[in-house]
């Protein structure tokens, strides 16, 4: 407690602000605005057709174009949309107006809103939110406010949930390059709930806890999709004097706090660099084309770039930056990395900076000398080199200068992508979008929320406390909590509804045994619920022993066989009754002993998986 109080004080002191945006796909039959299947296609499914489109930023309300819009538009990329049988229709590819709002999805969203103590809107007004990365063929996402002013309790903190939205999932990227992105449209239009917290989550740990609680609330509906990518947690983080950074793509809930801690560290380091640059009166110079200096270079990297069509090399002096480009802002991430990530937006592979070891690039002393002269480099200055096709290098230089100049101002507002899941670091993805342009979706009628809808939402709302106390009765506190926090609750309820085995046994199998087997490389998640039920019934009937259960699971995870076959082919059938008696008397003869301990050890060593310990004891005693 004391430690967490210290933590809380520390984060308060650095002006820590943190909010979550949680996106969860709903398990509905149909998509949000059409009758396509809302379950994505299986991996490897081939599309039946493709269309290729171009999008452009259109003049905004103020005649100005939003920052990220401009960025995407400047790339002029072609977007190909892959069309899948039963999963894509004309609505998805912007060739037909949307159909009516999916009532099933709305009902789930309303229940979640109730579960998070929100007030529900009286009439839903569908909106269009402009999307510029091509992930939506219509260039906007349909979204609507469902509830507001909710809250959630996490670690004794009262965290506000200002809004809950129901919206369309975007397309998934199949392939992406600088000129072209290929999108899978099976995902597009799947109902998605977005839950936003306010920005006052006090610590990284609390953020993790809030994410856990919201995840649990969503799962308790029993109506959300499971598996990788079906829930996404975006985190907004800033500290005093820093800037808002949106972290995307953190897949492991358990790592949220580590990622946030590193973002705080990154911002603190960037502020330190800023202070030092200001102190040194640093400045960026003018980019210079230096292709001629390297025309006979031994550097394989530079040589390769000069040789290509329109290949050039440009360099930029960074006055007063020496030593700071190599300054580590995050584990294995330097200011140089950040500038390089910006340059990459233009399509170059990266850049060379002067805090790196020039020998590793095979750049000679005389080349460096000429470079320093043409850039006017003095003591304390640094430089960067970018090589590639002329037009691309120009544009890469533009982005690099932009980032270098921001280093003198502090932390740039960015959307960053989780990059290294071991080090918990992120990389630049794109500039933070300005306020999204939003306008009413006039192709869809507003939806009045009726008293019947509200009652239904109240009756079906996810309730953590209720779920916990119900589970506690049959599982005990510890197992109940464990199950609630896992992603297996719905599966547990399904299986224990069908199998007669003890609920504790089932919970332990899904939690402990599954975790252990998965760790050992067994794909237990691939075993169907039906097979699990069948297995449990065999155990309950006494066809197999308790010890044999993990062995059957292993066999089922390895190959797609029937449960009975898995038992038989692995000799896992239980030995009992007269067969057991015969086994015992045979062993007694063989060992010429009736000592129960000897017999028990002997038989167990040979038939551990097939014999139930207590039944064996009884049999030995009857001998």
């Amino acid at each position: 407690m004391e430690k967490s109080q210290n933590q809380s004080d520390y984060y308060k002191q650095i002006g820590f602000l943190c909010g979550l945006e949680i996106h969860q796909r709903l398990a509905t039959r149909e998509k949000l605005f059409c009758s396509c299947s809302a379950t994505p296609v299986e991996k490897g499914t081939e599309p039946v057709a493709e269309v290729t489109r171009y999008q452009r930023a259109v003049a905004g309300e103020l005649g100005a174009i939003d920052r990220s819009t401009q960025f995407e538009s400047s790339r002029r990329r072609a977007f190909t949309y892959r069309i899948f049988d039963s999963h894509t229709c004309l609505v998805d590819i912007d060739e037909e107006p949307p159909h009516a709002l999916n009532a099933e999805a709305l009902a789930i969203a309303l229940a979640v809103a109730k579960g998070l103590n929100c007030s529900i809107v009286d009439e839903i007004e569908p909106m269009r939110k402009e999307v510029v990365d091509g992930s939506d063929p219509s260039a906007f996402q349909r979204t609507m406010l469902v509830g507001s002013d909710g809250f959630i309790e996490a670690e004794g903190e009262h965290i506000s949930v200002p809004s809950i939205f129901l919206e369309e999932e975007s397309s998934g990227i199949e392939e992406s390059s600088n000129e072209h992105v290929s999108y899978d449209t099976d995902r597009l239009g799947i109902p998605l709930i977005e839950i936003d917290t306010d920005k006052y989550i006090p610590t990284p740990k609390a953020a993790k806890e809030v994410a856990l609680q919201i995840g649990l609330t969503l799962r308790l509906t029993g109506r959300v999709q499971r598996g990788i990518g079906t829930i996404r947690q975006d985190v907004n983080v800033s500290i005093r004097d820093g800037a808002r950074v949106e972290l995307k793509g953190i897949q492991e809930l358990d790592l949220i706090d580590k990622f946030i801690e590193n973002e705080v560290l990154r911002q603190q380091n960037l502020i330190k660099i800023r202070d030092e640059l200001v102190n040194r009166k640093a400045s960026t110079g003018k980019p210079v084309e230096v292709t001629h200096i390297f025309k006979n270079t031994e550097s394989p990297l530079l040589k390769g770039n000069i040789k290509m069509k329109d290949g050039i090399i440009m360099a930029l002096p960074l006055h007063g930056f020496k030593g700071l480009l190599g300054y580590e802002v995050n584990p294995s991430m330097r200011l140089g990395t950040e500038i390089s990530d910006y340059a990459k937006m233009a399509g170059v592979k990266g850049l060379i900076h002067s805090d790196e070891d020039m020998n590793s690039y095979n750049i000679s002393r005389s080349e460096l000398k000429m470079l320093a002269e043409s850039l006017g480099i003095k003591e304390g200055d640094a430089f960067i080199i970018i090589a590639g096709r002329g037009e691309i290098v120009q544009s890469a230089m533009h982005y690099a200068i932009m980032r270098a100049e921001h280093a003198m101002k502090g932390v740039p507002e960015e959307t960053r992508m989780a990059y290294d899941t071991k080090l918990c670091t992120s990389r630049f993805m794109r500039p933070l979008p300005g306020g999204s342009r939003m306008y009413p979706e006039t192709d869809i009628r507003p939806v009045e929320i009726t008293a019947a809808m509200l009652k239904n939402a109240e009756d079906s709302k996810p309730d953590i406390a209720k779920a916990k106390s119900a589970l506690k009765k049959s599982l005990g506190e510890q197992l109940a909590m464990h199950l609630l926090r896992s992603t297996r609750l719905a599966q547990f309820e399904r299986i224990s509804g069908m199998a007669s085995a003890d609920r504790r046994f089932i919970a332990n199998m899904l939690l402990q045994q599954f975790t252990e087997l998965r760790r050992n490389g067994y794909d237990v998640d691939a075993i169907s619920d039906d097979k699990l039920v069948e297995l449990l019934n065999y155990y309950e009937k006494g066809t197999i022993t308790k010890q044999a259960v993990p062995e059957v699971l292993k066999a089922l995870a390895r190959s797609d066989m029937a449960v009975e076959q898995a038992i038989k082919s692995n000799n896992l059938e239980r030995i009992r009754g007269s067969k057991l008696m015969a086994l015992v008397s045979g062993a007694a003869k063989e060992l010429n002993s009736k000592d129960s301990k000897t017999l028990l050890q002997y038989i167990m060593s040979k038939h551990r998986l097939n014999v139930d310990g207590s039944e064996l004891n009884e049999a030995i005693e009857r001998l």
């Binding site: 269309v51 060739e95 809107v121 009286d122 006039t442």
Partner: protein, 445 residues
């Protein structure tokens, strides 16, 4: 005035103002901009735009208190554009703008769809047009194509002629898409002796959305008007669902074949004259009338007879519909028959056959033309006895014309010639609307 309107008026609140709404009974306080209500909102709902950009509907209750916090801002207006100096080297073309989806623009705040007010706003939305040609934009009207009549067709024809007579290389006409193929047929007939490309285009998605088809359609249309040697009227729209190329389809052989797809327009009993790629390369795909060296002044022939009907024959249909039109003094009727050009003629039961009505109409001097609801293919009056009966009754078989083109042609003929002449010309090719050969590769393309 409803309760809500009265209450807002009393509080001095109008649409666009930032207001706060408080309700004690619901323990609610909200702030946002008041949005206009639409015909789709429930009558007791007030819509406000919250700070996060979302609109939300609030049910009005009598205990609500409203307060005006700030006056609304003026609506968005396009920035003034400086007049561009003409670039001598580029051809001059005229863009005639008549309304429709291509000219509509959403008000980002209210979601209301408006027609672009000034022609220059179109150039603002599609700036690349100016890189293609020197474009003079003129707005003729601002109406959806379903609301367009022959009076507008006449007006457009006059302006096209005016532009071409003043030396423009070609003309782009933007219209709504619903009746675009009627417009293209009308212009084809009205612009007799045309010696320049006249390119009609539009959009299936409005130009205020980033995914609009308008950008490619307009650019390709401008390219054709500025650089092609085609002396015909045609429709230039997406050739496929991709933004890869547009097809230029002869005005008398085009038809809207889909309610919503961007490649809705198809060549019927014909191939597109040309395709224009997204890089603005023109690829000629079939024969067409080329621009001739000597140019004569274009004098459009714009007469049009309104009393011409387009009637569909179908099982159980009442032939009395012909009596109705004849009684109303109609001068021409195009029948959209079944198959090769049938109407019911030998039904076992009384009152189903169209034969007596058609005979009587023809006898009274009404020109009756026969087309097919198959859309594709040619009508034929000889294959079956029933067809011969209709033909003998005086119905004119309109070859491979679509019902819409035949309708427009008959209206135009009767507007400019007497009935006898109209009868004589209806089945004869005038401007490429009838082809004598039916090519294998002209079906479902």
């Amino acid at each position: 005035m409803t309760d809500i309107e009265a209450m807002l008026k009393k509080a001095g609140i109008s649409v666009g103002d930032t207001i706060s709404i408080e309700s004690g009974s619901r323990n609610m306080k909200l702030t946002g901009e008041l949005m206009p209500r639409t015909e789709n909102n429930k009558s007791d709902i007030i819509v406000i735009k919250l700070k996060n950009g979302y609109n939300t509907g609030i049910r009005y209750t009598s205990d609500m208190r409203f307060e005006k916090i700030a006056q609304g801002k003026k609506e968005f207006t396009f920035p003034e554009r400086a007049e561009k100096h003409a670039v001598e080297k580029k051809p001059y073309i005229q863009l005639l703008y008549t309304g429709g989806t291509i000219g509509s623009k959403v008000d980002y705040k209210t979601g209301g769809v408006y027609m672009l007010l000034k022609p220059s706003e179109l150039l603002y939305e599609v700036p690349e047009l100016e890189g293609i040609a020197n474009i003079e934009v003129k707005q003729l009207f601002n109406i959806a194509s379903e609301d367009m009549s022959y009076l507008e067709w006449q007006e457009i024809s006059k302006h096209v002629a005016e532009a071409l007579n003043s030396g423009k290389h070609g003309v782009v006409v933007t219209t709504g898409t619903d009746t675009m193929h009627y417009i293209s047929a009308a212009l084809s007939f009205m612009l007799q002796g045309l010696n320049a490309p006249v390119v009609i285009t539009g959009a299936q998605r409005s130009s205020d959305r980033g995914s609009s088809d308008a950008f490619l359609n307009l650019a390709c249309a401008a390219e054709l008007a500025a650089y092609s040697d085609i002396a015909e009227v045609g429709i230039c729209m997406h050739a496929s669902s991709s933004d890869s190329k547009c097809a230029f389809i002869r005005g008398t052989h085009a038809r809207k074949m889909h309610t919503s797809r961007r490649d809705a327009f198809r060549a019927i009993n014909d191939k597109p004259i040309a395709y224009v790629s997204k890089d603005l390369k023109i690829e000629y795909a079939s024969g067409y009338k080329k621009i001739a060296n000597q140019s004569k002044e274009l004098k459009p022939l714009t007469g049009f007879e309104r009393k011409v009907a387009l009637v569909k024959a179908y099982p159980n249909s009442d032939p009395g519909i012909i009596d109705y039109y004849v009684g109303k003094g109609y001068k021409g009727i195009i029948i959209e028959g079944t198959g090769l050009g049938h109407t019911p003629v030998s039904v076992q039961h009384e009152g189903f056959s169209w034969l007596p009505q058609i005979k009587e109409a023809v006898e009274k001097g009404v020109v009756v033309g026969m087309t097919s609801q198959c859309i594709y293919g040619r009508v034929n009056s000889n294959v079956y006895r029933n067809l011969r009966l209709l033909s003998n009754a005086g119905a004119i078989y309109c070859e491979d014309m679509t019902p819409e083109t035949a309708y427009v042609k008959l209206g135009w003929l009767l507007g400019n010639y007497d009935s006898e002449k109209a009868k004589e010309l209806l089945g004869k090719n005038l401007v490429g609307e009838i082809c004598n050969r039916s090519n294998y590769d002209e079906f479902m393309i």
